[in-house]
């Protein structure tokens, strides 16, 4: 055969992983890039910040209470004289950790259930029934009951803070995976009809490897999008739980808790509302923008353009 290899259509760059393409596309989305920068900044601020700003968030300096922003306390102090900046950083760690972990739980659960029910026809009915059931269960009482049921057991095994953390994170995770599961299932159903899955079957690839190799990588983009949305929702949900008195204990700062506590002081010390409010909004906003960018970047149709 005289056939010489054909010119590739792609640009001349040699073997590039498609993550580079994703990044290339992501870069063109200004909002997403900005969001990523802001989010990175926030994460760095709350994780590395305490190394620089060494005041303990629980340290009470009762003489300096209710003071406004100053050099000693750039964000001011609260009613017990605790440094708000230190509390913001500590709270941010928790809030972001809550956001990330709750999102991870919900995405993992959602993906697992979505993939399994989309892929194995026999389990589909049961699993989708379960999903509907969870969708129909009123979440608030469920959350409440979970908090009430397990708070103590968990605090005993993991310490009060870690216990509450695990509880809240799993409560949020367990009550928010359904949307992801539905989307993923839909995608999987569609993917299953794609010929490359059939091709894998004709090779004799067993289901487990089929899922790992062919299904999961291809449902990544809706999962990513659910994930970014999930972080935002989890942070907001945690703050709403604080409002309802079900979140972290009052002596354990999170952004939601700080915001809630500051609301009574809205008129005297508006800055106290401002900081956590800004932090939450910025985080949610930046994560949302990242999600937007990722959605574009992961969609081959858009990326190809």
């Amino acid at each position: 055969m005289t056939d010489t290899p054909l010119e590739p259509v792609a640009k001349d760059t040699s073997a590039r992983s498609q993550w580079w393409d994703v990044w290339d596309q992501f870069k063109t989305h200004k909002g997403a890039l900005f969001g990523a920068a802001v989010f990175l900044f926030i994460v760095l601020a709350v994780t590395l910040g305490p190394l620089v700003w060494t005041i303990e968030p629980t340290f009470i300096d009762i003489r300096a209470r209710n003071s406004g922003p100053s050099l000693a306390h750039p964000f001011g102090t609260d009613q017990l004289g605790r440094d708000i900046m230190a509390r913001m950083m500590a709270g941010g760690q928790v809030s972001i950790a809550v956001g990330l972990t709750a999102m991870a739980i919900s995405v993992l659960l959602g993906t697992l259930i979505g993939v399994v029910s989309g892929f194995f026809r026999r389990l589909d009915g049961v699993l989708m029934g379960l999903t509907d059931l969870f969708l129909a269960l009123p979440l608030l009482p469920l959350l409440l009951v979970m908090v009430m049921l397990f708070r103590e057991t968990l605090s005993r095994s993991f310490g009060p803070e870690m216990g509450t953390f695990i509880l809240i994170v799993s409560a949020i995770g367990i009550t928010s995976w359904m949307q992801t599961a539905r989307i993923v299932r839909g995608e999987v159903l569609a993917l299953k009809e794609r010929e490359f899955v059939l091709a894998a079957r004709s090779i004799g690839t067993p289901s487990r490897r089929m899922i790992l190799r062919h299904i999961l990588p291809n449902v990544l983009s809706p999962i990513m999008v659910s994930a970014t949305l999930g972080i935002a929702t989890a942070i907001i949900t945690e703050s709403a739980l604080s409002f309802l008195g079900l979140g972290f204990p009052p002596d354990f700062p999170t952004w939601g808790r700080l915001l809630f506590d500051a609301i009574d002081y809205l008129q005297q010390y508006p800055e106290r509302v401002f900081w956590p409010g800004l932090a939450i909004s910025l985080t949610v906003l930046s994560v949302n923008y990242i999600g937007d960018g990722l959605r574009d970047a992961l969609d081959p149709r858009i990326r190809g353009r």
Partner: protein, 545 residues
Amino acid sequence: AERGSDGEVKIIYWQAPSIMNPYLSGGTKDIEAASLVVEPLARFNEKGALVPYLVDEIPTVENGGVAADLTSITWKLKEGLKWSDGTPVTSADAKFTAEYCMAPDGGCAQSAKFDGVESVETPDERTIVVNFTGPKPVPYAAFVGAQSPLIQAAQFKDCLGAKAQECTDANFGPIGTGPFVVTDFKPNDVITMKANDNYRDPAKPAFATLTFKGGGDAASAGRAVLETGEYDYAWNLQLAPDVIAKMAEGGKGTPISGFGTLVERIEMNMTDPSPDLPEGERATAKHPHPILSDERVRRALSMAIDRTLLVEIGYGQAGRPTCNLVPAPELFASDNTDCIAQDVEGAKALLDEAGWTVGADGIREKDGKKFKLLYQTSTNAVRQDFQALIKQWWADIGVETELKNIDGSVFFGGDPASPDTFQKFYADVEMYANNFDGTDPEQYLGQYTCEKAPKPSSQWQGENINRFCDPAYDELVAELGKTGEISKRAEIAKKLNDMLTKDSMTIVPLVDRGRVSAHSNSLGGVVLNTWDSEIWNAADWYRIK
């Protein structure tokens, strides 16, 4: 003034009333809402003194109203009293009220008021004789105070016993003798009332209608009275003092405060709550507390606390530092004020003396045992602030504290299966507030006898939370039960109070918590009463023109 000439008055309670029958709910919000409609024979005034309401005078031994052997009391209804539906109020109504609350399956929340009542007799239409099973030195419980008003026999006749739960209409709109009548009751939301046409004083109430809104939170209730002026009266503004002060700048209303017997205190566990003990022995008298059994230790812990600062941060106008379990009424209040001044050095010295020496990490230890305490309370912003502050003070004297807070409904829920109730007290120290009804502390102080300690055999029921046990105390309580003379009673009560606080430091009182409410500047006649319903004199309220 003329009845109904001042239009509408609006009251906001951030806890919404769920029922208008005080016999089916012990909740303050419910009792106070009901107090606008149903009335007792006599009430306590703002000073804690009894004042006649539906009777002309308070029966006493002196005026013959109370039998000399203290086994009966005779009330005489006012002439011409009418229910709001126009029918006359008779002694039969009182007899019925007693039957209603004493019926076995009725689940009456106020049945303690009728403790020791043997029978109620009605020699005539206006005379009510309450017979007691034995001598009763303080016979003013049944039909006295907002908790035990008269209800109309005609309205509730089918609601005795188990049926009490089903009489929704009656429970939501009781017929009473008070200044207002319910026109519409929306549970947990809003009650609308209008002036009672048959109220005994033809000039009162000044308001034609009354709206009693419930729900939300203290802050927004405060705002509605102090800042926007939408409401005339807001109840129990449990807010940080500076928040209230800021709201008051709004200029629409005035915060008012009053003090009763509610004391925020730290209770010391006299028994060992260690989880290593077998269930059933944990936190029982069998194992005294390894650290707190020493009186010096308890005293040192108390000395480390700056109560004045606690008040300033947590309650402001609505609190004052106290060292007493019974801070009021004046007659019964001990003059113990030793604890008010913080004394960190003294506390340290005391601990040194007790053999607790400062270890390498700054934490005291004795015989290789670290001074570590578990400090629990219910979940509530102010309490957590207190916990944080006290933890720091205790850290200053070398005590490590682990903080824990438990949801109020569990903490106070009394479920014997839960490890987290305040009765079980699976912690070293705990903090909450308690008070007593009326003005006589006998029953309140009587809670600290040995036998009232919660224990497995009593399903963890019992009021002697710290398992305090002193035979001398028990004896003194018994003596109080036999003493009728008021000054003598006061003397014994003070002594009991001091045994629990000043002498043994079993109970470490922190703050005498009063109440802050607020009324609009145009609402006149408000007299805050902490001994009875807070809005006890709503009949006297009027609009300042």
